[in-house]
């Protein structure tokens, strides 16, 4: 049996056992079987990845089962293993295994643990089906499967109305993207008469000059196909316009945010672009759009990240922003670099989320950074893990010596954008550079607010609750409400005079099950960039044709001017200095800034009003039209002039008609019988 079969199907089997067994098999059995399956999958994935690095593993496709055969439209269940898949295998399975382990500690007191672990494993299975897909339809299966798991996990604490709302939002907004994905698959089938990715990629260049009509528009075939598919990628990867679900997805338990909404699922769009990179390279307009959307997202999300108070939302916007980097890297043709950032980001962002989870765990489910402060000494291991993650995401490093993971991947992206040398890529370079400054600012802001300064815990409702009711509160598992950071006006900013600000609360460092994953990911955040930079960026042999490899661009990337190479480091230092100045040296600056630029701050703080806008132009009208169609259309028009109108006419007519109406069943039978008699007579004659 090929190991990939175990890698993919062990998590599914474990999910079924844990999910259906649930209370019958108990917490420990459900957690052991799922976590065990994931460590098994992770253990089997690394040799495959290392095999590709060493050059002694070949790409292959393992057929599993026939799926659909309808005329010329055929696709099967099959598992493709190549270098690109291998990268995703280690990312998904490693992070997933660690998140499973972490959840032993984080979800310790939850009454619904088997369900949680079953969902996590189910998610992993769907994600593995996505990345091993050999045809677009199986990719779509995985795509929707991870969407389902995401929906279930965001809504895991389904008693909270906000969780239910966030779950629906995530699913429906993703469906908007899926509309594009599906139409892209249909169009691809129309043009190439296949959904096999291998065959499509081989045939794409020959179609690059052809044109096609789509909804009345005459377009280059490859451009419209790639744009449609990219709309799917935008949904899943929360790019500008279809990003609104990601911050709300933070309603899910924090391990979910780490696994799904940071390290793996949201990178599916980037994976799709890389998987289809030879196809996208035949579509210049589509790639221009990819670059612009990616660059815009990376800037836009970073601005919002600087203003949020909820620790998870800051990291969520950070994820959105980092995904933008990956997209514009792909847009300018540096697919290996995009995958490199995906790889390093998975480690340091999972680390930041799990670290945030550890902070939240220590702070009794308080997520608002205004009520943190001074935690450095209280939870030192979490602090060091978060510090490593921050150094990695902000890209700390010394050129030519050593850097944390993000140093290599983010620098390479900016260099690639510069080296590509078009107007659009220049735009992406500058957007990326400004976003890097903002990244550094909001990341350090998070660190300073959380770990430095004096404790500001006393005014937190969660902390007060913990102090007054003790730690082992029964509703710990389902925190009754975790309101938007933006809507908690009843919290007042704590005044510095109040005793020591701790309210007598003592945060505890997290249990070992949570600290081990933090430790492993810390190693990843430190070394993942340094160790793999050559293979990901320059490794044409490593990729082995699984992505489009632009040798000239990679060459150009290495010879950009020194100031370009130093840009990322300079803006990183500026952001750090700004955050230090505003949150350590002169803590009154942010307040003054908000007072001076209230409108601007509000615009950014309210997330550029996207939610309000969509509510006004999509959600409310949908319900309004629904009511109008129902009341005025169905009842007011169709029924009124249709059946009811006829009834009215009949009632006004002769009395004889009344008996017809009352005994309609028998009348109907009679009429039918008469009809039959007529038919028979007719035939006989």
């Amino acid at each position: 049996m090929h190991p990939i079969l175990i890698i993919v199907f062990a998590p599914l089997l474990a999910a079924l056992i844990a999910g259906l067994g649930n209370r019958m098999i108990g917490n420990v059995a459900a957690k052991s079987v799922t976590t065990g399956a994931l460590f098994l999958s992770a253990g089997l994935s690394w040799p495959i990845f290392l095999g590709f690095l060493g050059g002694d593993q070949n790409a292959e496709v393992i057929e599993v089962l026939k799926w659909v055969e309808s005329g010329s439209l055929n696709f099967d269940w099959s598992l493709r293993v190549d270098a690109l898949t291998a990268v995703m295998l280690v990312v998904i399975n490693s992070v997933s295994a660690l998140v499973h382990l972490y959840s032993w500690g984080y979800m310790e007191e939850d009454p619904d643990q088997p369900r949680f672990f079953a969902y996590l494993s189910l998610f992993t299975f769907a994600m593995l089906m996505l990345v091993t897909a050999d045809n677009l339809v199986q990719m779509f299966f995985g795509w929707e499967g991870v969407g389902l798991a995401s929906y279930l996990l965001i809504g895991f604490w389904f008693r909270k109305p906000s969780a239910g709302a966030a779950a629906i939002k995530a699913f429906v907004v993703n469906r908007v993207g899926d509309l594009g994905f599906m139409l892209g698959i249909f169009g691809t089938f129309l043009v190439f008469q296949t959904t096999s990715i291998t065959e499509i990629l081989a045939a794409a260049p020959a179609m690059s000059g052809s044109t096609i009509t789509f909804v009345g528009m005459r377009l280059y075939t490859m451009d419209i196909l790639c744009i449609l598919l990219f709309i799917g990628a935008m949904g899943k990867s929360a790019q500008l316009g279809l990003h609104t679900w990601l911050p709300d997805a933070m309603e899910g338990p924090t391990p979910v945010s780490a696994l799904i909404h940071a390290a793996t699922m949201v990178t599916a769009g980037v994976f799709m672009l890389c998987r289809l990179s030879p196809m996208f390279e035949t579509a210049p307009t589509a790639l221009t759009i990819v670059t612009i959307v990616g660059a815009a997202t990376c800037f836009f999300a970073a601005t919002i990240g600087t203003t949020q108070w909820d620790i998870k939302r800051v990291i969520a916007y950070s994820t959105c922003s980092q995904l933008g980097y990956m997209f514009f890297a792909a847009g300018v043709g540096a697919y290996g670099v995009a995958m490199f950032h995906l790889f390093t980001h998975a480690f340091f962002k999972a680390l930041l989320f799990l670290g945030a989870g550890s902070v939240i765990h220590a702070m009794h489910h308080e997520q608002d950074m205004r009520y943190y402060g001074g935690l450095r000494k209280r939870i030192p291991l979490t602090f060091y893990a978060m510090l490593a993650g921050t150094l990695a995401i902000t890209g700390v490093g010394v050129l030519g010596v050593f850097g944390f993971a993000g140093f290599y991947s983010k620098d390479a992206i900016l260099e690639a954008a510069w080296a590509r040398g078009t107007g659009v890529s220049q735009f992406a370079f500058w957007a990326g550079a400004i976003a890097a400054l903002l990244t550094s600012f909001y990341s350090w802001r998070l660190m300073f607010l959380t770990f430095w300064g004096k404790p500001r815990w006393a005014l937190s409702e969660h902390i007060q609750h913990a102090v007054h009711h003790g730690h082992d509160d029964p509703d710990h598992a389902n925190p009754p409400k975790q309101e938007d950071a933006g809507h908690d006006a009843h919290h007042s900013v704590p005044s510095p005079h109040e005793d020591d600000g701790t309210a007598g609360y003592h945060p505890h460092e997290s249990p070992v099950a949570m600290l081990i994953p933090l430790g492993v990911l810390t190693l990843g955040a430190i070394f993942a960039g340094f160790a793999f930079k050559y293979d990901f960026i320059d490794g044409e042999a490593f990729w082995g044709g699984s992505i489009y490899f632009n040798e000239n661009l990679i060459h150009a990337l290495h010879v950009v001017p020194l100031w370009v190479k130093l840009t990322a480091t300079i803006v990183m230092l500026l952001g750090l200095a700004g955050a230090y100045f505003a949150y350590i040296a002169k803590p009154d600056i942010p307040g003054k800034f908000v007072a001076t630029f209230g409108a601007l701050h509000n615009f950014v703080y309210r997330k550029w009003y996207f939610d309000e806008l969509y509510d006004a132009i999509f959600v409310k009208p949908a319900f309004w039209f629904g009511r109008q169609f129902w009341k005025l259309g169905d009842i007011g028009t169709i029924d009124r002039f249709g059946p009811n109108g006829i009834a009215w006419v009949v009632e006004r007519s002769a009395g004889a008609a009344k008996s017809i109406q009352s005994g309609y069943v028998y009348t109907y039978a009679l009429i039918m019988l008469l009809g039959l008699v007529a038919a028979i007579t007719f035939v006989l004659l």
Binding site: F186, T213, H555, A556
Partner: protein, 516 residues
């Protein structure tokens, strides 16, 4: 099995059961009905397993000439086989769903169901035009009775509407049938399917049949009888209505309109597309604002059946096969959703969504089944809903990208109204005390739901079992339609391929010195 008139036998068993039910007590009637439907399902399995894939187009044929041209002629192809299987599979489940819910006139109720099964099998197996007509129209009589006698408070209005719409269509269809028999000189359906009617006659014939089938599907704006009928019907009535009776319209299109009037079908495809596009958007939005569970699912049925009609008139293999798969899938899934409504209706006697909430807490297995069927309804890959929708939409895309775009918005709207329903019923806190006290599904309810769940997943993961029997029949139909099939609006035009990749970079300008 050679020579065994299995189709007649499959009709005889429930017929005998129906007669028996009329004369025995309530409890025995339940067991008789269950026994008869299970026996019929057993015969159905024999039918399916002895159906030869790749064999003759019409199998298990029986023929007895009665008088004049009218004959008792039965026979099935793959499409009929699948729809018969759907009917006989759902029937025992319906009997179980009525087990405790029906308390008055149990014998008559069971007899009505069994009689309806006879007529449904007859409709799908009939090979004579008038025999089809008898089964097709008579099949609705038990349904009127089920709604009118065992229905809700406003049952009279509901069955009146049902009656009125149906009557209009059937009269026109009957007239068209007379004309066809006179013109072709036979009432044999397989012969008529090959007969080339004059193009000008096809127009009115097509419209006459359309009047009947469009009501059954139902297509917008002839759909308003459906929500009322569903709301008033008992649970099992809704299951059969959504599961099988709505498929009569689609079956009619695929058996009559398309093969018999291919030119008119092509000419009127635009009409079908417009009505279907309106239906997808309009009824989905209406479903979004419903406060009654059954109404919501009824409106969602209209939206789903619109994808069927779009697929049928795509004039290609994917569209046709997708349409049949949606019919099967929708039969299972919407049937199962009505069962889900029935399960909680039996406990709380209300269909009002707001009266529930937080059911995932006290009814976890119910919530799991409901989730599976919700996901199948919104076409999650891996469930039956996806396969049909995907094929039908892929089919229509090849004919018209505009129709495909509008029809595909159904996947967004469908997700919105179904998940909104699921959230209000299963998620949230336990706001209603009586809803919070409801117990999880019983053993009987497990037996109803689990087989449907298995079938939904089977059809989603390995649809080949369902595609294979109809492949040859769809190919025949596709070949017949080939001559009149409308051209694709994509008009793909080749052009000289680009010489290099979009991000190609040359060494001379690769030093990174600004734009080129």
């Amino acid at each position: 099995m050679e020579g065994l008139p299995i189709l007649s036998l499959m009709m005889l068993v429930p017929l005998a059961g129906a007669l028996a039910c009329l004369f025995v007590g309530a409890n025995l009637a339940r067991w008789v009905a269950l026994g008869a439907t299970l026996a019929t399902f057993g015969l159905g399995i024999i039918l399916w397993s002895s159906y030869q894939i790749g064999g003759p187009q019409w199998q298990f044929t029986e023929r007895a000439d009665l008088f004049a041209g009218f004959s008792y002629a039965l026979g099935i192809d793959g499409i009929s086989l699948l729809l018969i299987m759907l009917s006989v599979f759902l029937m025992p489940i319906c009997i179980l769903a009525s087990w405790d819910a029906i308390k008055k006139r149990v014998g008559e109720y069971m007899a009505a169901f069994l009689f309806m099964e006879v007529l449904m099998i007859g409709t799908f197996a009939a090979q004579d035009l008038f025999l089809f007509y008898v089964f097709f129209e008579a099949g609705l009589i038990p349904m009127y009775l089920i709604i009118g006698v065992w229905g809700g408070d406003n049952r009279i209005y509901a069955s009146y509407k049902f009656f009125l719409y149906t009557l209009l269509g059937s009269v026109l269809m009957l007239i068209a049938m007379f004309w066809m028999v006179a013109e072709a000189g036979t009432s044999d359906i397989p012969t008529l399917m090959q007969y080339d009617f004059p193009a000008e006659a096809q127009t009115w014939l097509w419209l006459a049949f359309f009047a009947s089938f469009a009501v059954k599907v139902p297509m917008w704006p002839l759909h308003t009888w459906l929500p009322d009928a569903h709301v008033q019907a008992p649970t099992a009535g809704s299951v059969i209505l959504a599961g099988v009776l709505l498929k009569l319209g689609g079956y009619g299109f695929i058996r009559f309109s398309l093969p018999m009037f291919p030119e008119a079908s092509a000419d009127f495809a635009w009409l079908v597309f417009i009505l279907s596009m309106i239906a997808v958007v309009y009824t989905s939005l209406v479903a979004l604002v419903q406060a009654d569970m059954k109404k919501l699912i009824a409106y969602s049925s209209v939206a789903h059946m619109a994808i069927v009609t779009v697929g049928l008139f795509a004039f290609n293999v994917q569209g046709l096969e997708g349409a049949v798969i949606i019919m099967l899938s929708h039969g299972l899934v919407s049937g199962a959703l009505f069962l889900c409504v029935g399960v909680i209706y039996d406990r709380l006697h209300t269909r009002e969504i707001a009266r529930y909430g937080g059911l995932a807490i006290n009814m976890p297995y119910y919530a799991l089944f409901f989730l599976l069927f919700t996901m199948a309804s919104i076409g999650l890959p891996g469930t039956s809903g996806f396969v049909g929708e995907f094929l039908a939409l892929a089919g229509i895309y090849q004919t018209s990208s505009l129709v495909a775009l509008v029809a595909t918005t159904g996947i967004i709207l469908g997700a919105a109204y179904m998940l909104y329903l699921y959230r209000r019923v299963a998620f949230g806190g336990q706001v209603n005390e009586d809803a919070a006290a409801m117990r999880d599904i019983s053993a009987r309810e497990w037996v109803m739901m689990a087989p449907i769940a298995a079938a939904v997943l089977w059809m989603g993961v390995y649809p080949e079992s369902f595609l294979a029997p109809m492949r040859a029949d769809i190919a025949v139909l596709d070949a017949r339609l080939a001559a009149t099939a409308p051209a694709s609006d994509a008009s793909l035009a080749p052009g000289a391929p680009r010489e290099e990749a979009a991000n190609a970079l040359h060494h001379d300008n690769a030093a990174g010195e600004g734009a080129h």
